[in-house]
């Protein structure tokens, strides 16, 4: 449980960080909260020769709102997400999900950017990002680009982020009137990743579901967007029958790996059950019942 030797760098600006990343190329890794990277290094599954620590770059922290978008800097920690008045008011799904991640120690250092970029199938933020139709502000030596969450996650631990690029911020739309959100996560214990989880974000008008996003955690190589399930419910009033149909569609896209949390059958059913619960809870919130 001791990593091999590495060089530690502490840039104070994004530009310095980009220079270091370019300079060391493949040998370098960004260090954010360290709660995914350092365990991998201690197990010697990852052996970067250079660590570029982003913790001392002021501009990578903070949450602000402009033009109907909330922008969350990548180095914002989970515990900052949980206590942000802005998010609690205008994007409550993020604090809700963040409070279900790991334990207080992990949440006080782990960052939203690290959670997204690491793209562990068990990480919670990727599904949240899909459910919220978020976009990512990415910086490289060639400048800045903005990429939608949809399509960003390519596979387990694999995203559209290029080597030497930094995820700078996450943009999410401010939630509108009549919207409701829920993140239902089944886990064995505190500090565990999801056995299965489901993120739901929807808008209800006059009892009719105008729009719904459903995304699943840890039942595939990446977070999964349950589009077929969404279309069952879009434009409909919620009924038990439709709910069951939607849940069935969500279960149909699951392709989980068996592990000590359970076998495939269990995980697929749990993705279904979490989806059922999340839809119900989001609906109740949207219609003032939650």
């Amino acid at each position: 449980m001791i990593p091999p030797e590495f060089e530690y760098h502490r840039p104070e600006t994004i530009d310095q960080a980009l220079v270091l990343l370019t300079q060391h190329g493949e040998e370098a890794k960004i260090l954010a909260g360290g709660h995914s990277l350092l365990p991998l290094m201690k197990l010697r599954f990852a052996e970067p020769a250079h660590l570029v620590d982003l913790n001392f770059i002021e501009s990578l922290r903070g949450i602000k709102e402009s033009n109907g978008l909330i922008e969350i800097a990548a180095m914002t920690t989970e515990s900052q997400l949980i206590t942000s008045p802005l998010l609690l008011d205008k994007c409550p799904l993020i604090p809700d999900a963040a409070s279900q991640i790991a334990d207080p120690q992990v949440r006080s250092r782990g960052t939203i950017g690290g959670d997204i970029v690491h793209a562990d199938p068990g990480n919670d933020h990727p599904a949240i990002m899909l459910a919220l139709e978020a976009s990512f502000v990415i910086l490289g030596s060639n400048g800045e680009r903005i990429v939608p969450a949809s399509g960003f996650f390519l596979g387990a631990f694999d995203t559209q982020l290029e080597e030497n690029e930094i995820l700078k911020a996450i943009q999410v739309p401010v939630s509108v009137a009549g919207s409701g959100h829920a993140y239902c996560k089944l886990k064995r214990k505190t500090g565990d990743f999801a056995t299965a989880a489901s993120a739901v974000s929807l808008v209800v008008e006059g009892g009719v579901c105008k729009k719904i996003n459903i995304a699943l955690t840890n039942v595939g190589a990446t977070a999964l967007k349950a589009e077929a399930a969404e279309s069952i419910l879009t434009g409909q009033t919620l009924s038990d029958l439709l709910m069951e149909k939607a849940v069935e569609k969500a279960m149909a896209i699951c392709d989980p790996a068996e592990d000590l949390r359970g076998d495939r059958e269990y995980k697929i059913h749990m993705a279904g059950e979490m989806t059922r619960r999340a839809i119900r809870e989001a609906f109740a919130k949207a219609t003032g019942g939650g």
Binding site: M1, I2, E5, R188, K189, T190, T195, L260, H269, M270
Partner: protein, 801 residues
């Protein structure tokens, strides 16, 4: 006698037996000022790290150390070939087998110790481990003890081929270690044949690990000049370590000093002697420098002693009213690759024969067969006396199975079968003499406290609505305090316990006891015992343990033996001092000894209550004014050999609600009544019960070391292995009755393991009870959400209509 307010005050001043005194060790622990093995730093200290096998079963074709040795800072790399000339490549186990210290030609479990790198710092050692090249030829692995016993199974222990004995009786297969039988087989079989009702169930006590927060490790330091070896070590039995180290190394036992400093939990995991310790000692002798070796969490969970892995078949025979007439148990015990379970040497299945439990079962028979598999060696008592958890599990589950078959309420069937209060001392069918108990009273108190009938009514209503609610009972009897030396020894050393007490001239005391606390609060409790016996306030009594140079020989702390045996030694040693003090008091007061009576903290002359000498006065006189013919000083030693074990008991009740769509079990209520005889410190008892119940909860619900077919271990880190935090832990309600042990000087029985032993079947019975209206007889632990859901789903209970 203590009737006046002044008497009461004097008694309270002692903070002795019965006082809920705050733990003396806590100020240092909660300030981070504990001193553990890994805190020890000695001049010139170097670091060892182990190269371990990635395979469960493989031949070693070669080991190349060159690259590792070439790394600057690496001092040496030791393998079996290096230990061979010293005859230390194998070592004897506590169970009469031998165990490879470093793998000799083959590895028999994943993570087995293959080589140790010694380097000037810990980081270099870790790098060098990666550079040791081992050439393996993989062999088929056996992880299931049933498979290990089939005719043409691969042979795990080639070193034993042709030997029909491995230290514990006859072997009947190359992968077989021993058969152990107890009871009257033919009478049992005959009773089963005639019985009106019989039940039979297979049940597994899954392989788990005690997982103390502090992993194992040591700092071995050999002084080449004077030939002294000092080892700081995470050991629950430092004197046994000293004897074994002396026997293995040839160094005189008087030149070996073993020190167990603060220990961060043991739970049986720190009884054994591990290869890492032995190689670190050898390395220190070779290099003449202190060598530190500390395990990582993964190493601890994968290679040091596990617990359980008992594959049991339990059977009961009864009449139609549920009166049990006979019990039969057959066990296949998976001991892993070497038989290094930690039990008293003559007990290959520990005290498993306590399996008739709290019930008056006229005839019984049990047989245990130990087998080798390609898994880590061990088989320790995880917060229990030896194999008592397994025994209590099988009887407490089986009585529920019988109750279900006969449609008798689980509380009622227990009541019908209890050993009655007037049957003590009770002779069990499998040979134990239970010291004391009152089982029906304990059960009744619990049932009343929780409104048992109300709970059953609620359960019936919930069932009608399709909800799953379970009520579990456990009315267990433990056997602790090993043990009478005629029955129990470790490598030939009787399992007595010792205490030495010195009263200083000014009336304060140091006492040294052969046990070693790992969180039990010995500094607090022992001082209270001595305080009451000597009439000296417990705050003035220092307790020292764990240093073999200063403490008299003791067998250590495990199997709830500290209070039953160590506490008895402390009381007996204190009484010797009081006897001498009486002589001195008589001399000072110029009366005869018979004229004196003991009065809380002083002797007084009968009939002349103002004529007194306090213990403090007497202590001073002991160093300047003793009667003719009496030695000066005020000290004593006692080696206490208990006449019997003690038999704590309890009645537990657990209520669970199961979410039928996720399989999650919520423990709504857990009521634990314990009877541990005389209660020395009620607050420490309460703490021990909370801890034991929490570990029982962990075992019953989630803990398991899992192996795949290739013998790879899974779940060997805290990401998977379940240690409940405050979040998962249920709320505990505790209660007690007091039935003193008639043979213990204080009437005390030991308590810290009861909640674990009694708790596990209670949780398991509750989960099983949630399904008792269905055609399900027994569900094995762990009752994780996943496994419970499997049962629910197979029954179609999660269907939505």
């Amino acid at each position: 006698m203590a009737s006046t307010p002044e008497d009461k005050q004097r008694k309270e001043n002692l903070a002795g037996i019965g006082c809920a005194r705050k733990r003396k060790e806590d100020p240092r622990f909660i300030q981070g000022k504990g001193h553990y093995v890994d805190d020890i730093k000695l001049p010139d200290m170097v670091y060892g790290a182990l190269v371990r096998s990635p395979y469960a079963h493989a031949r070693i074709k070669g080991i190349n150390k060159d690259a590792a040795l070439a790394l600057p800072g690496v001092l040496t790399v030791l393998t079996a070939d290096d230990l061979k000339p010293l005859k230390l490549h194998w070592m004897p186990t506590l169970a009469g087998d031998v165990q490879a210290v470093l793998a000799d030609e083959k590895v028999c479990f994943q993570q087995q110790e293959v080589a140790m790198v010694i380097a000037t710092d810990r980081y270099i050692a870790a790098d060098a481990v990666e550079l040791v090249e081992v050439d393996y030829e993989e062999l088929p692995a056996l992880v299931d003890p049933h498979q290990a016993m089939v005719d043409d199974a691969p042979v795990i222990r080639e070193d034993l081929v042709g030997k029909d004995e491995a230290g514990q009786g006859k072997r009947i297969h190359d992968n077989h270690i021993f058969s152990w039988e107890v009871g009257d087989k033919s009478k049992t079989d005959a009773t089963f044949k005639k019985a009106a009702v019989t039940v039979k169930e297979e049940m597994l006590n899954q392989r788990v690990h005690p997982c103390p927060l502090e992993t194992c490790g040591c700092v071995a330091s050999f002084d080449k000049v004077n030939g002294h070896l000092t080892v700081h070590i995470t050991s629950q039995a430092p004197h046994i370590v000293r004897t074994v180290v002396s026997m293995l190394s040839g160094i005189a036992e008087s030149k070996v000093r073993i020190i167990s400093p603060d220990i961060g939990g043991g739970f049986g995991n720190k009884v054994g002697i591990y290869p890492g310790y032995v190689v670190a000692i050898v390395a220190s002798i070779v290099l003449g420098q202190p060598v530190k070796w500390i395990e990582s969490r993964i190493e601890n969970l994968s290679s040091t002693a596990f617990a359980r892995d008992y594959h049991m078949v339990g059977e009961l025979a009864a009449d139609k009213n549920g009166l049990i007439q006979a019990m039969r148990v057959n066990v296949l015990a998976d001991h892993g690759a070497f038989n290094s379970h930690a039990q008293p040497t003559k007990w290959p299945a520990g005290l498993f024969s306590i399996c008739t439990g709290s019930y008056d079962i006229p005839v019984a028979y049990a047989r245990v067969d130990g087998v080798y598999t390609n898994k880590a060696p061990g088989g320790v008592a995880y917060r229990c006396s030896f194999r008592v958890t397994e025994a209590v599990y099988v009887i407490e589950r089986m009585i529920d199975v019988l109750a279900k078959k006969l449609a008798i309420d689980p509380a009622e069937i227990r009541r019908r079968n209890f050993i009655k209060a007037d049957q003590f001392p009770y002779q069990s069918a499998l040979g134990w003499s239970y010291d004391s108990g009152n089982y029906p009273a304990a059960l009744d108190k619990v049932l009343e406290a929780v409104d048992y009938e109300g709970l059953r009514k609620e359960q019936a209503e919930k069932r009608a609505r399709g909800e799953l609610m379970g009520i579990g009972l456990s009315t267990f009897t433990e056997i602790v305090g090993a043990g009478p030396s005629k029955a129990c020894d470790v490598l030939g050393v009787g399992m007595f316990e010792s205490c030495e007490i010195r009263v200083h001239p000014t009336g304060s005391v140091i006492a040294r006891i052969g046990t070693i606390s790992q969180g039990q609060g010995h500094q607090t409790t022992y001082a209270q015992i001595i305080a009451s016996e000597l009439g000296i306030p417990s705050d003035q009594i220092q307790i020292e343990e764990g240093d073999t140079d200063t403490v008299p020989y003791g067998l250590g702390t495990y199997g709830s033996r500290s209070t039953p045996v160590g506490g008895a030694a402390a009381a007996t040693a204190a009484r010797k001092i009081r006897d001498k003090a009486r002589k001195i008091a008589a001399h000072l007061l110029d009366v005869s000894e018979q004229d004196l009576e003991w009065d809380i903290d002083r002797f007084r002359v009968e009939g002349a209550p103002d004529q007194v000498k306090t213990m403090k006065d007497i202590a001073w006189a002991a160093y300047n004014n003793v009667p003719d013919g009496l030695e000066m000083g005020l000290e004593s030693v006692n080696y206490y050999d208990p006449p019997n074990f003690t038999f704590p008991f309890g009645a537990y009740l657990c209520v669970v609600d199961i979410d039928k769509y996720t399989g999650e079990t919520k423990v709504r209520r857990f009521y634990a009544l314990d009877d541990c005889g005389t209660r020395i410190n009620p607050m420490i008892i309460e703490g021990q019960i909370h801890g034991g119940l929490t570990e029982a909860f962990a075992v019953a619900m989630e803990q398991q070391l899992v192996f795949d077919e290739s013998g790879s271990i899974h779940g060997n880190s805290l990401m998977d292995y379940f240690l409940p935090t405050f979040v998962e832990t249920p709320v505990w309600e505790t209660d007690y009755t007091v039935t003193p042990s008639p043979h213990h000087p204080l009437g005390a029985k030991g308590v810290a393991e009861s909640p674990h032993v009694g708790g596990i079947p209670c949780f398991s019975n509750a989960v099983n009870d949630a399904f008792s209206h269905l055609d399900i007889k027994h569900i094995n632990m762990p009752h994780s959400a996943f496994r419970v859901w499997k049962t629910i789903h197979a029954q179609g209970l999660d269907k939505r209509t």
